[in-house]
């Protein structure tokens, strides 16, 4: 028989833990996010330094913040869905194509005749529908996510071109068009939508069983399966969720452009994946944060804005942008290391 009572009093374990609680890996996302904040502040400082004339005008600054957020809003919504898919161990290359297909489908004359409600319903239904197709191919057809969603990308853009006859379809629905045009309490409506989607995503990931399953499935799919989680159904749901986000984004983008066409939301997949990864989501799954992804999107939008106010030519813009992406990630890593060293000494 075992006698265990003699040793290991918990008392002497306590101090070691209090000393190191913040250092355990659970707080890493927070630190990474701090690093992204630092990058953001740096970008703003560069903005102030290069265009003091603009930044001295407080109305302009205020408007500029909203310009950045509006620019970030559509891709931000897409990125929330993408973050779930990547944390769950997948990838969705079809997001841009889904946005385009949903946008085009909801702006056909037939759909527009059902009014704003019909258009929104159509966009969401198309988004979820294509997402479910992705999910079925990947979860039940056992296709590699990269290939399946690439195939759907190509097919969905083709279908969008077919439906629209490659024409730009103008939205004549004032309700839809007003979403992007109007404010509430001085803040653009699109920013509210972004905030709502981010908040919902955060709660879903961190406070619900769905979020926990996502982390489990992406972190160790075999462990999740052997713990009784229905991995296939969950995978399906993840792609459907991504599709839903694309549907929402389609409405937002249609509203911004007061029109939709088959080539819209071009390469959003790369932007969304890049933002999520910059935000600390592990490409191999199992780890990531919604806030990080949001910050990633905002960093990209701020870079674009910085270029615009300094009127850099596109080619210079692109060269600098590549450098900034690299720098941002390096700063994250640097911060992580140096800070932990700093704290270690303290």
């Amino acid at each position: 028989m075992t006698t265990t009572q003699t040793a290991a009093p918990p008392a002497n374990e306590k101090p070691a833990e209090t000393r190191s609680w913040w250092r355990d890996d659970a707080s890493e996302p927070l630190r990474r996010n701090l690093a992204l904040f630092a990058v953001l502040i740096l970008l703003i400082i560069i903005g102030i330094a290069t265009r003091p004339d603009l930044y001295s005008d407080s109305t302009w600054v205020r408007n500029n913040i909203f310009t950045i957020l509006e620019l970030a809003s559509v891709i931000g919504v897409v990125t929330v869905g993408m973050t779930f898919v990547i944390i769950g161990g997948g990838i969705d290359l079809s997001v841009g194509a889904i946005v385009a297909l949903a946008g085009v489908w909801s702006t056909t004359l037939a759909t527009q005749s059902y009014g704003a409600g019909g258009m929104i319903f159509c966009a969401l239904a198309v988004g979820i529908g294509v997402g479910v197709v992705n999910g079925i191919l990947i979860a039940y057809g056992r296709l590699v996510a990269f290939i399946a969603t690439l195939a759907i990308l190509v097919a969905a853009r083709g279908l969008a071109a077919q439906i629209s006859g490659k024409q730009t379809q103008v939205s004549t629905n004032t309700f839809i068009n007003d979403i992007a045009a109007n404010d509430l309490l001085g803040i653009p409506l699109l920013v509210y939508i972004l905030a709502a989607v981010v908040a919902a995503g955060w709660v879903l990931l961190n406070r619900t069983t769905f979020g926990r399953r996502t982390v489990a499935v992406g972190g160790n799919v075999e462990a999740a399966r052997l713990a009784g989680i229905n991995v296939k159904r969950h995978t399906l749901l993840l792609y459907a969720l991504s599709g839903l986000c694309c549907g929402i984004a389609a409405i937002m983008l249609t509203s911004q452009a007061t029109s939709a066409q088959a080539a819209m939301a071009n390469l959003y997949e790369l932007d969304a994946i890049a933002a999520a990864i910059i935000g600390g989501t592990l490409l191999s799954g199992g780890r990531g944060t919604i806030i990080g992804s949001l910050l990633g999107v905002i960093v990209f939008a701020t870079i674009t804005n910085l270029f615009a106010i300094n009127n850099l030519s596109t080619e210079v813009q692109n060269m600098v942008k590549g450098g900034i992406i690299v720098a941002a990630v390096l700063v994250q890593q640097f911060r992580y290391k140096s800070l932990s060293q700093l704290f270690n000494r303290a």
């Binding site: 500029n64 490659k166 992007a180 007061t258 029109s259 066409q261 270029f307």
Partner: protein, 323 residues
């Protein structure tokens, strides 16, 4: 197309207008300008022409914002332009319909908008619209081909088409003009491939098209930039039994037509010189002046450039306008 990076010194697409009453300096004005950032010779020429034309005026301050990759980025860029309070905005939108809302709001804010090339659907969204004729391009190309076939006595010619980026509306208009006009002569397009306005895609699509059509009588290629690749594919396949018509009117294409040593016999224009004109007219609008050759005191609301056909006969006249 040329390898020199478009120095403005001897740019034939700029109106230096020495003998023009409107060339005299007027009120100091700020012109804002925005065009999308496609890596394409035609768009590059648009931007270069606009800048060069603005440089000829001592009374114009020229501010450009380059729009990023899509309409959303361009809209954000235009916001920053607005904050710099220009007197007039010259805008080549990614897509006229997508930026219609911007045009409306700028006009409402009292800033006249000169729409370049890609039309806003809403007439209230612009003060002046100056654009090429995409449908007309197709018409001209088809008309030339029909004439050639008739002259050669080919009754049922095999006609190919290499289009530009298929998802753009302008490509659709060009193809429609082409098909409509051919149909009037009882002809039709046997095979149509869509390239992406670049030489490498032009080569690949042309190689595929030539393989699909072992015998060909006529070929229309929408864009002279991608035409470099199309011509390469034709010579790589050792084909010469047909006539080819180009599009847009690049310097290289016009030279080739003049030399008459390839299948390229004509090209239909879609000239980036419209950017120069847009700047000139924007200045007049901002200064409240009219066009000196017109009786009206104001610049008119719409100008559509004709698509001309350049052949060996008239190539010499157009050579200086090639971009």
């Amino acid at each position: 197309t040329s390898n020199d990076s478009g120095d403005d010194d001897n740019n034939a697409q700029v109106n230096t207008g020495n003998n023009n009453a409107n060339a005299a300096p007027g009120k100091q004005v700020t012109i804002g300008f925005s065009a999308p950032a496609a890596d394409h010779g035609w768009i590059a020429a648009i931007t270069n022409n606009a800048k060069a034309q603005a440089d000829t005026y001592s009374d114009v301050e020229f501010k450009t914002v380059e729009a990023g990759a899509d309409a959303a980025a361009q809209r954000a860029a235009l916001q920053t332009l607005i904050s710099q309070k220009p007197d007039v905005i010259v805008l080549l939108p990614h897509d006229g319909k997508e930026l219609n809302a911007f045009g409306l709001s700028a006009m409402q804010a009292g800033i006249p908008v000169v729409n370049l090339d890609r039309a806003f659907p809403d007439a209230k969204a612009y003060r002046l619209q100056i654009k090429g004729d995409n449908y007309g391009m197709g018409v001209s190309a088809a008309a030339y081909i029909v004439a050639q076939m008739k002259a050669k006595g080919v009754s049922a010619p095999v006609i190919g088409e290499i289009a530009g980026m298929d998802e753009l509306e302008l490509t659709q208009e060009r193809s429609k003009g082409f098909a409509d006009t051919l149909a009037q002569a009882g002809f039709r397009v046997a095979n149509r491939r869509a390239a992406r306005f670049t030489a490498d895609t032009g080569q690949q699509e042309a190689a595929s098209l030539l393989q699909a059509l072992p015998k060909l009588d006529a070929l229309w290629n929408h864009d002279d930039d991608q035409g470099i690749g199309v011509l390469a594919a034709i010579s790589q396949a050792n084909r010469s039994e047909f006539v080819m018509v180009g599009g847009a009117g690049s310097k290289a294409a016009i030279e080739a037509i003049q030399a008459d040593n390839s299948v390229l016999k004509a090209t239909v224009t879609y000239s980036p010189s419209m950017a120069s004109s847009a700047i000139s007219l924007a200045r007049l609008i901002a200064q409240g002046r009219g066009m000196s050759d017109l009786v009206e005191l104001q610049v008119p609301k719409e100008i559509t450039l004709a698509s001309e056909t350049i052949t060996k006969e008239n190539a010499g006249n157009y050579l200086k306008l090639g971009f």
